[in-house]
């Protein structure tokens, strides 16, 4: 399977995700934001980091970059697109995913391992996870507080477009297990066609037991299967 990782000035998780993809047998290429052609890709990853120093709004400038025009075209014709952390913020700014990511409710940059409940696994990104299981991934962000209009929130819940929610170790979804103030503890969302996933947690940091855990592997193997 061919993958492309988009690199912006300020991306800092691009190599982590490239390593994860290559170890899991993806044929990966790095694509610079100024490029105007996208290599043939089954999966496009927009990695985490601080593209353009988070100027104006996180992801706002990157969303207008050259390569994003091609990413939007590919996404609209069904290519799988995964945006992690800053990548999620960029997808929101392009309009490929709806809503907004606000400053964390407690105004703190949150960097820690959190628990996530698999709410929906019937999509190309999560089908190797067990529904309602609890996994642990890392988060590291300042603007991860997901917000959207009431109608859209209902649409997300009703149409199974929320794959992950923040929870405690037992799987309870409550205010104390919400690290950033996101509506309904949302940690990631899909578009209506379920080919675009934006998520704040970092699965690429959890693919090697030597340095963390391996809870992120299933996300990548789901894409492969």
């Amino acid at each position: 399977m061919n993958s492309s990782v988009i690199v912006f000035p300020g991306s800092n998780c691009d190599r982590d995700v490239a390593t994860a993809l290559t170890n899991l047998q993806f044929k990966n290429k790095m694509v610079w934001h100024k490029d105007s052609e996208l290599p043939k890709s089954d999966l496009i990853v927009i990695p985490g980091g601080f593209s353009y120093g988070d100027y104006l709004r996180s992801g706002a400038i990157a969303a207008k970059s050259n390569i994003l025009k091609e990413v939007i075209k590919a996404a609209n014709s069904g290519c799988l697109v995964l945006g992690i952390c800053n990548g999620f913020q960029i997808l929101i700014e392009t309009g490929l995913l709806q809503g907004a990511l606000l400053r964390n409710k407690n105004l703190k940059f949150v960097s820690k391992d959190i628990n996530l409940k698999i709410i929906n696994n019937e999509n190309k990104f999560c089908n190797n996870y067990k529904k309602n299981s609890v996994i642990s991934l890392n988060i590291a962000h300042n603007e991860g507080n997901y917000f959207t209009q009431k109608d859209h929130l209902k649409e997300l819940e009703d149409n199974n477009l929320i794959p992950f929610k923040y929870c405690d170790i037992e799987g309870s979804i409550n205010e104390s297990s919400n690290p950033n103030g996101s509506l309904n503890n949302i940690a990631g969302i899909l578009n209506n066609n379920k080919n675009i996933l934006g998520m704040m947690p970092h699965p690429e940091r959890m693919v090697d037991n030597l340095i963390s855990n391996s809870n992120g592997i299933e996300l990548f193997t789901s894409i492969l299967s």
Partner: protein, 79 residues
């Protein structure tokens, strides 16, 4: 022609930064402070002498990049 764009979070969107500034000012003894919202101020010089046209260009900038219309609102002022 010079314009100012003032961007603030919509009323129903939580503004944690504004809240902290508000509480700090209150704790400093400014008891008459009722409410405070924090926003962004952008100054733009345009090579356009027709005010209406210039206004439309600024409007387009706001909608396409400067403002996230889901959470923010804006006002444009000629300065």
């Amino acid at each position: 022609m010079r314009f100012a764009v003032i961007i603030t979070l919509k009323k129903d969107v939580l503004d944690p930064q504004g809240k902290v500034v508000e509480q700090t000012l209150q704790s400093m003894g400014i008891n008459s402070l009722k409410n405070l919202r924090q926003g962004k101020y952008i100054e733009i010089d345009l090579n356009e002498s027709d005010e209406k046209k210039a206004h439309n260009i600024i409007e387009e900038m706001c909608k396409k990049l400067l403002v996230n219309l889901i959470i923010e609102e804006y006002t444009i002022r000629k300065i």
